[in-house]
Structures are given as C-alpha cells and as structure tokens.
C-alpha cells in the first residue's frame, strides 16, 4: 500500500474522530462551561444530565422512540424482505424501489410530508406517529440487512432438510429462520440506533411536550453551551460503541450495508 494512500486514510480517520473525542473529553470536564482543555476530570456532567428534567425525559423518550421503531419495523420488514428476495414477485424492482423511497427522499421533505398527514389526522403531539414516520423513512436499512442474509442463504440446506423429512414449517423454523436471524437482528439494532438518534423528522413532528434528547440538545445549543450537553453526546457515543460491539458479534461489520444482488 502506498504511503500517500495510508497517509490520506489515517488523516481522514483522525479528522472523523476529532469532534467525537472532543465531546467525550468535554463531557468529563464536569463544569458548567466547555473550555478546552478541561481542568478537572469527573462524571458530574452526567449526573447533571439526569438531574435536568427536560434532558432526562428527553433521553427516556429517545429510548422509547428507538424501541417503537423496532416494534413497528420488525414484522413488515421481515415479511417484505422474504417476499421480495425469496419469493417470485412481478414488478420486483418497482416494489423494492417504492419501499426504498424513504432513503431517496430528502429527510426534511419526508418530515414535512408526514407533518401534513398528521396535522390532517390530528396525530401531532404523540410519540408513536413519529416512530411510524421514522420507521417508514429508515425502512430500507432493515430491508437490506435482511435481504443480504437471504441472499447468503444456501438453498441446499433447505433441500437437505426436506430430504430428511422436515415439514415446510420445520424447515422454516429450524433452517431458514436461524440463518437469516443475524440479518434481522442487525437490521433491528440499526433501526433502534437511528430511531433513538433521529433528529430532523422528530424535530418537525414533535411539540414542546414530547421532545427527544437530540431535539432538547439542539434547542439548548442556542443558549449557553454546558457540560450537560456534552454528557448527552457522551451517552450517544457509548450507545454507538455498544451497538457496534453487538453487531460485530452477529456478523462482519462490512456486511451491514452491503447491497444484496437484485432478482
């Protein structure tokens, strides 16, 4: 590998990690202001965050939102992936195109589209409609995660099970499903993280009374920036680390976003 390539690669990695590390360092400063470098090391900013009722309920709502996204996405996602990539359907490219619309539409436009629908239906002010909106937008992430598991499936395994006398139900429960389970879990974990950290759509659809942590943090960026905010960032960094650990136990990380073969 050329020295130039390596230099560029390491340079961009350092660049990518700069703000993350700064957030972590500042969150450990434990003071009201965010001067760099911090004089003391403490976890008091995290205590302040849990003591602040807006932040605390925001954090709670964020976790709830992530879980709701998982709940809403799971069954439609798995069924759709099986239908599109394991069965024969006509108009397959068109149908998968429609289902990936959320990724191609700019987030802000999707947010405003849902705003109009929910205003009409009177569903503004609740958390679950926001979760539905986020699920619809992030749906392709789950779809592709399951689809890549399905395309890695060895069809001979099912045939072997059938030869050995397994019923169709048994083949699905004990052969097919365990084989695609890592893909499903990876997709659902991603749905959780993206639901929990989602900002733009949540901001558009939330009211003053049901803001999630990113929305609360964004709102308080306009005022004096405090260590509590850095602690909020620190929580997201820790959650990301946990998620990466979980996903890397399930499958190779490079697979997460690999696109399945169409057809």
């Amino acid at each position: 590998m050329g020295r130039v390539v390596r230099g560029f690669a390491i340079g961009s990695l350092v660049y990518l990690c700069l703000p993350t590390s700064i957030v972590l360092i500042s969150s450990l400063g434990g003071k009201g202001t965010l001067d760099f470098p911090p004089d003391t090391i403490s976890l008091s900013a995290y205590g302040d965050l849990l003591g602040n009722s807006d932040m605390r309920s925001g954090l709670f709502r964020s976790v709830l939102l992530g879980l709701m996204c998982v709940a809403f996405a799971a069954i439609p996602g798995v069924l759709a992936a099986l239908a599109l990539f394991r069965h024969r359907v006509r108009f397959q490219p068109l149908l998968s195109g429609i289902l990936t619309l959320g990724l191609a539409t700019p987030l802000v436009v999707s947010g405003m589209a849902f705003l109009l629908v929910y205003t009409r239906l009177g569903a503004i002010g609740e958390l679950w409609p926001i979760a539905i909106a986020i699920t619809a937008v992030n749906f392709p992430i789950l779809l592709y995660a399951v689809a890549s598991s399905i395309s890695n499936l060895n069809p001979e395994l099912e045939d072997a099970a059938a030869t050995l006398g397994a019923e169709e139900v048994q083949r699905f429960l004990f052969v097919t499903f365990p084989a695609i389970l890592p893909g499903i879990l990876t997709g659902l974990i991603m749905m959780f993280v993206f639901g929990m950290g989602e900002f733009l759509i949540t901001m558009i659809l939330s009211t003053v009374d049901n803001q999630t942590l990113p929305v609360v943090m964004f709102g308080s960026l306009r005022g004096a920036v405090s260590g509590t905010l850095a602690a909020g960032g620190g929580i997201y960094i820790v959650i990301s680390l946990v998620v990466i650990f979980l996903v890397s136990r399930l499958r190779s990380i490079e697979e997460i976003l690999s696109r399945p073969e169409q057809g």
């Binding site: 990518l16 500042s26 439609p76 109009l116 960026l221």
Partner: protein, 316 residues
C-alpha cells in the same frame, strides 16, 4: 426449543415445543391451498407498503398544496394555481430562495466530491489492512461518528471550532489569536465531511473488497507505477461503489439541517432550514410545499444523473 421458564424436566419442555410445531404443521396443511397461492408474497408486502404508503400520501399532499393558492388570512385553500411557485421564484423572496438553493447545491456537490475522494483511500486502507484487530478498531472509529446522530456531530464541531474550543486553544499554543471559522461556509463544509464520509466508505467497502489484489500485483509486475495502478485498476473497478457512495452523500447533504444551523450560526441557511422557517415561523405550509417539491425535484434529478451516467466515467 424451550418455552416455559419454570424448572420442569427438559424432556417435558422439548415435548411442549414439539407440540407447538405439530400444531403449526397441522394448521399449515389445513390451509395449504390458500397459503400457496400466487398472491401470498404480495400479501406479505402489504404491511410494508402501508407504512411507506403513508409517506407517499404525504408527498402527494405536499404536491397538491404546492399547486394550490392559499388565503393565509382566512386560512383557506383556493383554486389550483401556480401562485406558490410564482411567490418563491419571482416575488421579493426569490433572491433569498435562489441564494439558499445555490448554497445547498454548491456545498452538497463539494461534499460529494470531497467525501468520495477521501472515501476511496480510506476504504482501500480498510480492505487491504492485514491485521483483523486493527481493521475492527478502524471500523469502530468510522462507525461511531456515523451512529451518534446529526446533533451530536454538529455539537462536536461547534465546541471544537467555538470561541473557547479546542481549535482556539490549539492555535493559541502557536500564538495565533482570533480565528473565526464558525459562521462561514468552511465550517459547514467541514461538518458535512463528517456526515458523509463514514457512509461513503461503508458503501464503497463491498465494491473494494471484490477487487482482486493479484490484479494490482500483476500491474506492478508489468511495470505500472503506483499512480497508474491506482487510476487504471483500482478506481475503474470501484466505480459501481463510487456511484452509490456519491448518490448517498448527495441525498444526505441536500437535506442537511443541523450543520448549517449550528456551524453556520443560522446565517447561512440551507433549503431544509428555509423550509423549517416557512412551515413553523411563517406557518405557511403552501409556500413551503412549493419549496419542498423543488428540493425533491433537484435531489431526484441529481440522483438520476449520478446513477445514469455513473461517477467518474471520464478517466481522471
């Protein structure tokens, strides 16, 4: 397959599990003719289509509103007209709107070019790395900034570039004082690299992994310089990945909201910020719809161009 949680003998648990399987088999064979109809996969798509259908319905609403006049005083929808588009393209707003669209498109293109250019060496570095442990570390360093979400990313840059932030401290060590990056296009651009680079790399990885290292060795044996191997072998083979990376960065950048708001200090709005203003501060969702449709059309047009004509087909 153990279903109950109490401490009964394991054989009973197994028997219970198998009984469930037996019931399922019985149910399935009873409904076999129905469950094997050609419509089954279509039925399986219904929940997903319903979910995305809500989005489609919303987009339809936006399109409808954008083509109708609106009496803001009486809050009443009027006849079908091009009023809303006329207002944003020809009215007193138009200069501001064109500035905003130009800024969004310009910085997004800059982000596409920078991110894809930086993603190629980084993806190559990850794929060709010998140690698996280091590869994992690299992927963690790449994925954390990707997963933390837009607000935390913007916040990180904000305290990094801010008045008492790390940059001031760092430059202060060299006696450089009073550097203002926040509130400039440069700050937004720096932030947008952070948004797009991780995902560009992740999208490139599969394409990069498919490149056979023997090809590069063969080229080197035949006397190709490193530069030539790079431009003739690696980049052409990574092209499908380059196109998808460019598409994703383009879509993400065009809808950027937090970076311009936080790092541009609100002075340099993108289309998303302008939409926020129109919908919530001016409460005029009809004008906003016209701008939203404009954004949608620009993004789809860029998407088509990038996928249709590939990325970097002209050899650079």
């Amino acid at each position: 397959m153990s279903v109950s949680v109490d401490t009964k003998p394991r054989a009973r648990d197994l028997a219970f599990g198998w009984r469930i399987v037996d019931v399922l088999i019985a149910v399935r064979s009873k409904f076999a003719p129905v469950l094997h109809g050609p419509w089954v996969p279509y039925a399986m798509l219904i929940p997903a289509l319903a979910l995305v259908g809500l989005l489609v319905y919303g987009l339809g609403n936006l399109a409808w509103q954008s083509f109708h006049s609106f009496d803001a005083f009486r809050a009443q929808e009027g006849a079908a007209s091009l009023d809303q588009y006329r207002r944003i393209y020809t009215g007193s707003l138009s200069n501001h709107i064109f500035d905003t669209i130009g800024r969004t498109v310009g910085l997004s293109l800059a982000a596409v070019i920078t991110n894809v250019t930086l993603a190629v060496p980084l993806a190559y570095f990850i794929v060709r790395m010998r140690s698996n442990a280091w590869r994992l570390v690299t992927l963690v360093l790449l994925l954390v900034p990707f997963l933390i979400g837009d607000v935390v990313r913007a916040f990180g840059w904000y305290i990094l570039l801010g008045r008492h932030g790390a940059l001031t401290w760092f430059l202060g060590q060299f006696g450089v004082e009073d550097v203002r990056v926040l509130g400039t296009l440069w700050a937004i651009w720096l932030g947008m690299i952070q948004v797009g680079l991780p995902i560009a790399v992740l999208v490139l990885l599969p394409a990069m992994r498919r490149i056979d290292p023997d090809l590069e060795r063969a080229a080197a044996t035949l006397g190709a310089s490193r530069w030539k191997t790079w431009t003739r072998i690696v980049i052409p083979l990574a092209r499908p990945g380059l196109a998808s990376a460019a598409v994703i960065v383009w879509v993400l950048s065009m809808t950027e909201f937090a970076m311009p708001q936080v790092l541009g200090l609100g002075r340099l709005p993108f289309v998303a910020n302008e939409l926020d203003t129109m919908f919530f501060f001016q409460s005029n969702s009809y004008v906003g719809s016209a701008l939203a449709m404009t954004l949608l059309v620009i993004v789809f047009a860029g998407l088509l161009l990038l996928t249709r004509f590939g990325f970097g087909r002209a050899r650079r």
